[in-house]
């Protein structure tokens, strides 16, 4: 159709083979694109930059904590670094990473659709993300912020002399970016499924993204309200949270965690979706208990809204409300446990391939399990009193968010990289990186459980000398982890030029995304697929795919 002169991309993909990458050229064809795949790539680049930035702050903190004295950074700088580490990693990496990169790219393809329901909103959500990120960068460059990512009042409204307003404003804008993504996903899942693709034929990734989107849509507006109230109190002294103005600081914590606890599920649910896809593909088997796994995503989304005050057991809430929140917190663990057991059971009589994505997911299951069971320690009220606000909590949520979400993201990016780019990554290097990430992660964070039980409080710039050995171990682990994270950045970029061409289905996996070319054409499918099989139904899918290839 088009008569563009042959370019490098044409040479790479073969002349005349059009795909979303060589469909159009030039800067504006990217920044004004409405193609969900290109927007996913824009997100991929943006979140990767933010990950490196957040990782830099983490590394500086770990270096500071090599010695008990606060000697590398000043107290103020250290406080700003852990705040920025949290803000950047949570609002600009963990929350958008899987939905906005992998979800954006794969959701329409998994549904057999040409794009998301609202392509322009999708682009707008990336722009909102970028505006928020730029505001965040301005804050960082002009002096940073030191409240902790939780912005607890009255410290944030009356006492901090740093850029609280700019940071919360950035969080406020970033929230709208995720709201638009969530809205888009919900409508797309409802309205744009291919003929024959009923709800119970959907890949579990779609169920997970759908559940995530519900949480995003219901919780994020509360964050927006909370941050606006905080900004009003800080700038013009409206007394909402500050007791000196007649407010209640505990109210802030309720409102903040009403968003921020569900936000944990915004981070982990898509990771569970990736895990289900990868386990199915690398065992060549239907996920055991498909419906239980699908419903457990919805159960987590629902129960996740009812447990926020378990962050506040020592904050001054009544004994009885603490009991109710503790009780419900145990029950949010049940659907997570269901998933772990079902993934495990799927391995039985499977054909397990130990390729990189599967290695990451096996690591994910292990680390997420540890993150999950240590959550039980924190939900047990009398024990929480001792360990809350210590490194035990730090270790716990890093096991969930880094051991969970980041591991699953890495699994997903390796699994779908051939589809997104048309190229294979180098398997040997990738396995090495997966191993380094796993070992480095455990070395970094396991000692922190011990530190926490010993009583080392979190957010400490200097600490008691008897905590040093464990901190040195943790910093050593962080160095290994850093190497493990840098490697994929290098070899994935390398593979863009030198990777082996992937072909449409390098894994012999099932799922609509593997029935189209790699990279997919702009409209995803050359003709609208019709689905006559269940998700992960290997015999049926293999047969159907065989027929497609014959056409």
């Amino acid at each position: 159709m088009t008569t563009a002169t042959p370019t490098l991309l044409d040479v790479r993909f073969g002349p005349g083979v059009r795909n979303y990458l060589n469909e159009d050229y030039g800067f504006f064809s990217w920044v004004l694109t409405k193609d969900h795949k290109r927007i996913a790539i824009l997100y991929l680049i943006s979140v990767s930059i933010m990950f490196v930035l957040g990782g830099f702050f983490a590394m500086m903190m770990r270096l500071e904590l090599l010695t008990p004295e606060g000697d590398l950074l000043t107290s103020d700088t250290y406080n700003k670094f852990f705040t920025l580490h949290g803000v950047v990693m949570i609002f600009f990496f963990l929350i958008p990473v899987i939905p906005a990169v992998i979800g954006n790219f794969m959701l329409p393809i998994m549904l057999g659709a040409k794009d998301l329901a609202f392509p322009k909103l999708n682009l707008l959500s990336w722009y909102l993300y970028m505006i928020a990120a730029l505001v965040g960068l301005v804050v960082i460059i002009t002096g940073g912020v030191d409240t902790g990512w939780t912005f607890y009042t009255p410290f944030s409204t009356q006492y901090s002399n740093t850029h609280v307003f700019g940071t919360t404003f950035a969080g406020f804008i970033a929230g709208f970016s995720s709201i638009l993504t969530g809205l888009n996903f919900i409508v797309t899942t409802h309205r744009m499924r291919a003929p024959g693709l009923t709800w119970y034929r959907l890949p579990l990734m779609v169920w997970a993204l759908y559940a995530t989107s519900i949480v995003i849509l219901l919780a994020t507006p509360v964050l927006a309200i909370t941050l606006v109230m905080l900004m009003l109190e800080r700038t013009i002294g409206v007394g909402i949270f500050d007791p000196a103005l007649g407010g209640d600081p505990i109210l802030y914590q309720h409102m903040f965690w009403f968003y921020s606890h569900p936000a944990v599920y915004i981070m982990i649910l898509p990771a569970m979706g990736v895990a289900s896809e990868v386990v199915a593909a690398f065992t060549r088997k239907k996920i055991f208990g498909y419906r239980f796994v699908a419903y457990s995503s919805l159960a987590i989304a629902f129960l996740g809204f009812l447990v926020w005050a378990h962050h506040m057991f020592v904050a001054g809430i009544s004994m009885y409300s603490a009991m109710i929140f503790a009780f419900l917190s145990f029950f949010v663990a049940v659907p997570s446990a269901i998933k772990v057991f079902n993934w495990t059971a799927t391995l039985y009589r499977a054909s397990v391939s130990w390729q990189t994505p599967m290695m990451y997911i096996l690591g994910f299951i292990g680390l997420f399990t540890i993150g999950g069971v240590t959550g039980l320690f924190l939900a047990a009220l009398g024990l929480d009193i001792h360990v809350t606000d210590t490194y035990f909590v730090v270790a716990h949520f890093h096991y969930v968010m880094v051991g969970g979400t980041v591991m699953a993201y890495l699994a997903g990016i390796h699994y779908w990289w051939p589809k997104m780019t048309g190229r294979m990554y180098p398997e040997w290097w990738a396995r090495l990186a997966a191993l380094l990430v796993f070992v480095g992660f455990n070395l970094t964070f396991f000692p922190q459980f011990v530190l926490g039980y010993l009583g080392m409080p979190r957010r400490y710039h200097a600490y008691a000398p008897e905590f040093q050995v464990l901190n040195v171990l943790s910093t050593a682990g962080a160095s290994v982890l850093a190497v493990g994270y840098v490697l994929p950045i290098l070899y994935l970029v390398w593979s863009l030029k030198f990777g082996r061409p992937a072909g449409p289905n390098p894994w012999g996996a099932v799922g609509l995304e593997w029935t189209t070319t790699s990279p997919p054409p702009k409209e995803n499918f050359h003709e609208t697929p019709e689905v006559t099989w269940d998700a992960y139904d290997y015999p049926a899918m293999m047969k159907a795919m065989g027929e497609t290839q014959n056409v």
Binding site: F155, A315, M319, I338, W354, T369, A379
Partner: protein, 332 residues
């Protein structure tokens, strides 16, 4: 010191420490063994059923759904058990034993101030006797702090809006860390100190050391300094309610609701007296919000509390109007 002398488990120095550690140990064993079992199963299956040329496609096999029911129901039951255990411990920690020694704490950026009933004041250092319950009543002068004694396994956030209490009973003499556990700004990690657990005789000796008079007597001076005594005269002629004997009783307010005259009520009635006006009195007391420091508030509180014990007029008979039915004096 580096490699030879570092602990992996905190000291057990309070009555609740071993209870908390028991639950912790139980959970470690329980979750540890379940996790390890899961890991072993995963690795066993992932290796046994690894992809080989003979095993290219998974076998068509759907395990029994009874399994699903088992791993939904069994964890749920275990979780209820852990919940009950944890809550029992929490209730135990929330119930302050009778006859606890009362100590007052103020958190401010970035130090801990402690005041003993006998008037001793200390900063970032707390002396307590061994084997006696100690109750700490705390408030913050600025942001939220959190008082944490790892060796006692207790911690509570300290708020600028109201009093909170915590208690412990030390079981071993010695020096233990106390930390601020809620991030509070620049020198958060410097807001630390020591708790010194002493033999009772040593403690008595320490208490006998110099002080500016008991906390209550210091409060009495403040009561005059702030001219509280001009209205709270202690008899029926005063424009403010009588405070003697009021602490701990139910007070009827102007809107006919009843509140308990506890620490937080007294604090609020000093800082913001118009919030809860005692029935029969008019709202004329000035607002002291921002006028009285948390330290002074605690002294005033100690004074008001002391007014109940030495029954005001030598006789045991309660002051003029009946003690309980009539809105007992207090308040603006």
């Amino acid at each position: 010191m580096m490699l030879t002398d570092f602990p992996l488990f905190p000291e057990q120095a309070s009555t609740v420490a071993k209870d908390v550690d028991l639950l912790f140990g139980f959970l470690c064993v329980l979750t540890g063994s379940v996790s390890i079992l899961v890991f072993i199963v995963i690795f066993f299956l992932a290796i046994k059923y690894r992809r080989t040329p003979q095993n290219e496609l998974a076998q068509d096999y759907e395990p029994s759904h009874l399994l699903e029911a088992v791993w939904i129901v069994v964890p749920s039951i275990i979780f209820v058990g852990i919940f009950v255990w944890g809550s029992w411990l929490y209730f135990h920690l929330a119930r302050v034993p009778d006859h606890a020694i009362e100590i007052y704490a103020t958190g401010k950026q970035w130090m801990w101030k402690f005041q003993h009933p006998t008037g001793q004041r200390e900063i970032n250092m707390l002396h307590v006797p061994v084997n006696r319950p100690v109750k700490i009543t705390m408030a913050s002068e600025d942001v939220i702090h959190s008082l944490y004694f790892p060796a006692f396994r207790v911690k509570a956030d300290v708020l600028p809006s109201r009093y909170r209490t915590m208690w412990f009973q030390a079981t071993k003499t010695g020096r233990y860390h106390l930390f601020c556990a809620e991030y509070c700004g620049t020198l958060h990690s410097g807001m630390i100190g020591w708790v010194e657990v002493m033999e009772p005789t040593e403690y008595q000796k320490w208490l006998a050391g110099g002080s500016e008079g008991s906390l209550a007597s210091q409060g009495e001076k403040l009561f005059q300094k702030y001219a509280c005594n001009t209205c709270h005269t202690g008899d029926s002629t005063g424009r403010g309610p009588t405070l003697a004997g009021m602490y701990g009783t139910d007070v009827m307010l102007a809107d006919n609701s009843v509140v308990k005259a506890d620490d937080n009520y007294i604090r609020e009635s000093i800082l913001n007296p118009r919030a809860k006006v005692v029935k029969g009195f008019s709202s004329i007391m000035p607002v002291f919000q921002g006028q009285v420091s948390e330290d002074d508030l605690l002294k005033l509180l100690a004074y008001v509390r002391s007014l109940q014990k030495p029954v005001l007029s030598g006789a045991a008979a309660p002051p003029p109007p009946t003690a309980s039915s009539e809105p007992k004096g207090n308040q603006p």
